[in-house]
């Protein structure tokens, strides 16, 4: 068995600690009910005192067969399941799905609907990153301060979503071809107000965490991953960018109307936990930039659904792989149509699953506390890992 440390050297023997004296080493369960794990992830750490010698991740506690369920409903009916894969970025997940169906079926969608989708998805990115900041702060050891501060901002965005679609988490608002209904009348003004608040909130989080000496001491040079390793593990999203690869699907495989805006991609240098935090923080600022441009350009009126939509969607037989930049990385839907009104195959490529696979080399040899921080920096959503 060939295994590589994350410095890149190939070892002929696996990085497993000698097990001669098992009494010294101790197995510790982090999860599924441990306060440090996000969702129901379970990680069995073999520790020698405080040093992690081995880590075995267990996933699958949340497996609900979302892919299979989507195959047994028609194209529109399966939309509800998409909210439930990545519940922190539900609009983004819906968007990938409807985009995949639209491309498969060849549906053109109106421009206003495109703008509303993009705005909601970017707001959702902000919301998801706020959630990351709060949870990560708790992992690092803030006694709830980061959590409540970010949740204050998250609430504002959720209020906006509630005003738009009537729900705070499971939106189910996008439709194949457009949107379920027009956003409320003051949508643009509300969004601007929320953006102003959120920008202040980002500054607050920045002041609370970024330059805090203890925070830096905990995050710098922890869980370092090289660009090569990140690519090799299939890591995408902010984690990949933190490792120094400026890869962002919004730019590298432009979808929707992202080519109409000017913004910048944050890229880390060291690939450690602190870079992941900084990349996400900067990404939130860039999202605000995108949102301001989109809100200004958005047509004030217009259709939100195509003129004619078939009552039953029966795409021509064929396949599509639609991938988009979710807050956690590349979220893809692979869909095969056999000409009926149900997809023959739906496969979700979830970013967290791949990002999580890079955890083990990050934590082996580190301190127990660093393992928790490294896990937190991946920003997993277990529903999405297990699907």
């Amino acid at each position: 068995m060939v295994q590589r440390t994350f410095e890149g050297e190939v070892l002929t023997e696996p990085v497993v600690v000698e097990r001669e004296f098992e009494t010294v080493d101790m197995n510790i369960n982090i999860g599924p009910q441990h306060p440090a794990t996000h969702g129901v992830f379970r990680m069995v750490l073999t520790v020698d005192g405080e040093i992690v010698k081995d880590a075995i991740p267990y996933i699958g506690y949340m497996h609900r067969g979302g892919e299979k369920l989507s195959e047994n409903l028609d194209y529109r009916g399966a939309l509800g399941y998409q909210d439930r894969t990545d519940y922190l970025a539900a609009f983004n997940s819906e968007w990938v799905y409807v985009n995949a169906v639209e491309r498969l079926a060849g549906v053109e969608i109106p421009e206003r609907a495109e703008y509303v989708r993009l705005i909601l998805a970017e707001f959702n990115r902000l919301l998801s990153h706020f959630m990351f900041m709060g949870a990560f702060g708790t992992d690092v050891g803030y006694f709830g301060t980061a959590f409540t501060w970010t949740f204050k901002e998250r609430e504002r965005i959720q209020d906006l979503f509630e005003a738009v679609c009537g729900d705070r988490i499971m939106y189910n608002y996008f439709r194949v071809g457009g949107l379920a209904w027009d956003p409320h009348e003051t949508f643009v003004e509300d969004s601007h107000w929320v953006l102003d608040q959120v920008e202040t909130g980002i500054g607050d989080v920045d002041e609370l965490m970024t330059d805090n000496e203890v925070f830096v001491a905990r995050c710098r040079d922890v869980g370092v991953m090289s660009a090569e390793d990140a690519i090799s593990f299939g890591v995408t999203g902010p984690m990949l960018r933190a490792s120094g690869v400026p890869f962002d699907l919004r730019v590298d495989e432009p979808y929707s109307i992202y080519d109409r805006f000017h913004w910048e991609i944050p890229v880390g240098e060291r690939g450690d936990v602190y870079d992941r935090y900084l990349v996400r923080l900067e990404e939130m600022r860039q999202s605000v930039t995108i949102l301001r441009q989109a809100l200004d350009q958005m047509p004030t009126s217009g259709p939100i659904m195509p003129e004619r939509m078939p009552a039953r969607l029966r795409p021509e037989p064929g396949e599509i792989y639609m991938r988009q930049e979710n807050p956690r990385g590349e979220y893809g839907i692979y869909m095969v149509s056999d000409g009926t009104d149900q997809p023959w195959r739906v496969k979700m490529r979830s970013p967290c699953f791949h990002n999580l696979s890079s955890l083990k080399p990050q934590v082996i040899g580190s301190y127990l506390a660093d393992a928790v921080v490294a896990l937190g920096s991946i920003d997993i959503v277990l529903c999405e890992v297990d699907r």
């Binding site: 000698e18 009494t23 010294v24 101790m26 005192g49």
Partner: protein, 172 residues
């Protein structure tokens, strides 16, 4: 010698009994951690007897060094080695022999103590409490060389302990 029993003597005997029972606990307990906890009780008894002998300084040093540092080190080592061995493994094969030898030693000591005539002070009032200043003066004037040597010894012991406990580079 005074006639009658004073309160100090009663306290002394209570402390002595606590100390001795705890000491027996240390050497007979079937569980190592229990032995360490008994050890704390025995140390507290010793500190109490120091107090009765009016040397508060030594009593407090006893509490500070033994009570917290040494006992914590021992408990620490017990936790690191996770010693959960069978009770019989705690005693060697030569147990009866050891008990006999200890009893013989005890008999010899007590015999010697009883056989000697001690010129004890007439009353307890003749015993002056030893001030902290006197101890300090003694340590820093008469005993300054041993004091420095002890300091050097401590730092060497610290280095040695770190050397021993830190894992070797070529261990694996």
């Amino acid at each position: 010698m005074e006639d009658g029993v004073t309160a100090t003597q009663v306290v002394f005997w209570i402390l002595a009994v606590v100390m001795l029972v705890s000491a027996i606990g240390v050497v007979t307990a079937g569980n190592i951690v229990y032995a360490a906890l008994f050890f704390i009780a025995a140390l507290a008894g010793v500190a109490g007897i120091y107090l009765i002998l009016t040397v508060e300084f030594i009593a407090l040093v006893q509490l500070l060094v033994y009570g917290s540092a040494v006992v914590i080190l021992i408990l620490f080592a017990l936790m690191l080695t996770r010693a959960r061995e069978r009770p019989q493994a705690l005693f060697g094969r030569s147990r009866p022999l050891g008990i006999a030898a200890a009893l013989g030693l005890l008999a010899a000591l007590i015999g010697a103590i009883v056989a000697t005539t001690w010129s004890t002070p007439e009353t307890s009032a003749a015993i002056q409490p030893v001030g902290l200043q006197a101890i300090g003066d003694a340590i820093f004037t008469i005993w300054i060389v041993p004091f420095i040597i002890v300091g050097v010894l401590l730092s060497i012991a610290l280095d040695g302990a770190i050397m021993l406990a830190s894992p070797d580079e070529d261990d694996n």
